[in-house]
């Protein structure tokens, strides 16, 4: 589990379920960070950054039509840049400080503008230079809202995306991050979320679902051929996501040790299993083993193993991956069609569904009997843990679902959410950004 930062909460912290390898050290402020750990976290930060750009940019961008490629890329990069700045202005402070009256839900303003942080500052347990920890967390904050844009891609207006993302980061992401990692509600409950399955993936998946329902279907959806303009790009992006996810998951150990090694091997095998599962299911049920299916399955596996990466054993991760691959395939290829909504890039079908599977299953695969690590403190009882996990999922479902709904409505008051049908036909690249992606 992510040994997040509890400066003033040593007692609370010790109640939280920890990764077995992670000695919490009761805030020995004096300790100097180990440079091996620091090197790994610097690198992990860079890897998570790579997930955003080019990672998710290409994975998503390859699936839209050429005329909307730049629109997707611009939205992702702008959102990431804005959140980057907001993170040091107030995000880090609100997510990772102790908080006041509402400390179950939100931190406080004591580190606005990173006041008081210097190169010599460390995390509470002295494990890492604080700047490094801030950077690592920042990449998670930057990534999450970019995931959402996939659901309403090819039709939502750029100003609306920008405004929504700022609000959503502030009122949805930060509180959830605080609840899970900042010593808030879900941490108190003992919910396990090693690398952010709830904070990042369920969160983004639900917001995406709400968004695409509100914005409506693309013109021609279900009638015209709306084929991905470059599955090559999607593969590149997907591979880069996997690559960067090693930093996301194994980096969440916050140490360069055997625990990081466990998270890494799980990030290998769950992903491989899920990719193969989707491919095989598709081969059997639809007649063709597709590359898009293979990559989609791999991403579903990555999503599902995220909360479990440091808790499950490798065999448990394989089972989790197989499950996520098959369920997400069925969801995206059948259930979604039955409902008939247009989630352009299956943000909900992969991040939402995969995230929920992972969050709940983490309560199972952590079982020592199944090769998992067990809990750091307290005795493991499967039913109890699964219930805690489920409750945590429900809280974030509600918070994000309701929050996103309100914020979309709010944004819609200030600026139209959706491009005109003429702009949509011409493509958002020309209509909104005045550029074309390709001139061969």
């Amino acid at each position: 589990m992510l040994l997040r930062y509890f400066k003033k909460l040593p007692i609370l912290a010790s109640l939280v379920a920890l990764s077995p390898g992670a000695a919490f050290a009761q805030a020995t402020e004096a300790a100097t960070p180990n440079k091996g750990d620091t090197a790994w976290m610097l690198m992990s930060t860079v890897l998570v950054f790579f997930m955003i750009l080019p990672g998710i940019g290409l994975f998503y961008g390859g699936m839209v039509r050429a005329k909307n490629m730049l629109s997707v890329l611009t939205q992702i990069m702008v959102v990431a840049c804005v959140v980057c700045l907001l993170w040091i202005v107030y995000g880090y402070s609100l997510a990772f400080t102790a908080g006041g009256d509402f400390k179950e839900f939100i931190g406080d303003f004591s580190k606005l503008f990173l006041i008081g942080v210097s190169p010599a500052s460390t995390t509470a347990d002295g494990g890492l230079p604080e700047y490094v920890f801030i950077c690592f967390q920042m990449t998670f904050a930057m990534l999450t809202p970019t995931l959402i844009v996939g659901s309403f891609a090819e039709r939502m207006r750029f100003p609306a995306v920008l405004l929504f993302s700022i609000l959503w980061f502030t009122f949805v992401y930060i509180p959830i991050a605080h609840m899970v990692w900042g010593g808030g509600l879900l941490a108190e409950w003992g919910a396990l979320d090693f690398a952010g399955g709830t904070v990042v993936h369920i969160n983004a998946g639900i917001a995406g679902l709400v968004g695409c329902l509100l914005v409506g279907k693309r013109i021609g959806f279900g009638k015209e051929l709306i084929a991905p303009h470059s599955l090559t790009m999607t593969m590149i992006g997907g591979a880069m996501l996997w690559f960067g996810w090693f930093g996301f998951n194994a980096g969440s150990a916050l140490k360069a040790d055997g625990g990081a090694g466990l998270a890494m091997i799980n990030t290998f095998v769950a992903t491989a299993a899920a990719g193969l599962a989707w491919l095989l299911a598709e081969w059997i049920l639809k007649g063709h083993p597709s590359m898009l299916g293979l990559v989609s399955g791999a991403i579903a596996g990555l999503v599902a193993v995220t909360p479990a990466a440091g808790f499950a054993g490798p065999m448990g991760s394989i089972v989790l991956g197989l499950l996520a691959g098959v369920v997400c395939f069925v969801f995206c290829s059948t259930i979604k069609n039955a409902f008939g909504y247009d989630d352009t890039l299956d943000v909900f079908g992969i991040h939402g569904v995969g995230g929920i599977i992972g969050a709940i299953a983490t309560g199972i695969v952590v079982a020592p009997a199944l090769g998992g690590t067990g809990l750091a403190t307290g005795e493991y009882v499967m039913a109890t843990q699964v219930w805690i996990q489920t409750k945590a999922v429900l809280v974030s479902l509600l918070w994000t679902g309701i929050g996103s709904l309100i914020l979309f409505k709010l944004v819609g008051i200030f600026t139209p959410l959706r491009a005109s049908s003429e702009e949509e036909r011409e493509g958002l690249d020309l209509a909104e950004h005045g550029e074309r992606a390709y001139n061969y």
Binding site: A227, S290, C332, K336
Partner: protein, 112 residues
Amino acid sequence: MKFVIAIIKPFKLDEVRDALSSLDVHGLTVTEVKGYGRQKGHTEIYRGAEYAVNFLPKIKIEVAVDTAIVQQVVDAIAAAAQTGQIGDGKIFVLSLDSILRIRTGETDGDAL
């Protein structure tokens, strides 16, 4: 003079060109097109969405020839492009009023 438009299967282009060369026809213009016709397309599946794609890649050859040899040209193209399977394509012949070679200003027969 005639303007011959042939729609053929892409992989037959080299053979058709060779056939025309052996008739001393050394100029032609080629366009990548999509053809719709009797030939069945294929199905593409992207995640949940299945599409029947009926527009198939074809090559369009345009060649201007003297009226005297138009039949030979049509026959040569047809012979070279034929596989006997649906989708082999069509040859259309239109009448041409005039031809001009831009470089020299030569016209009609001289311009070929």
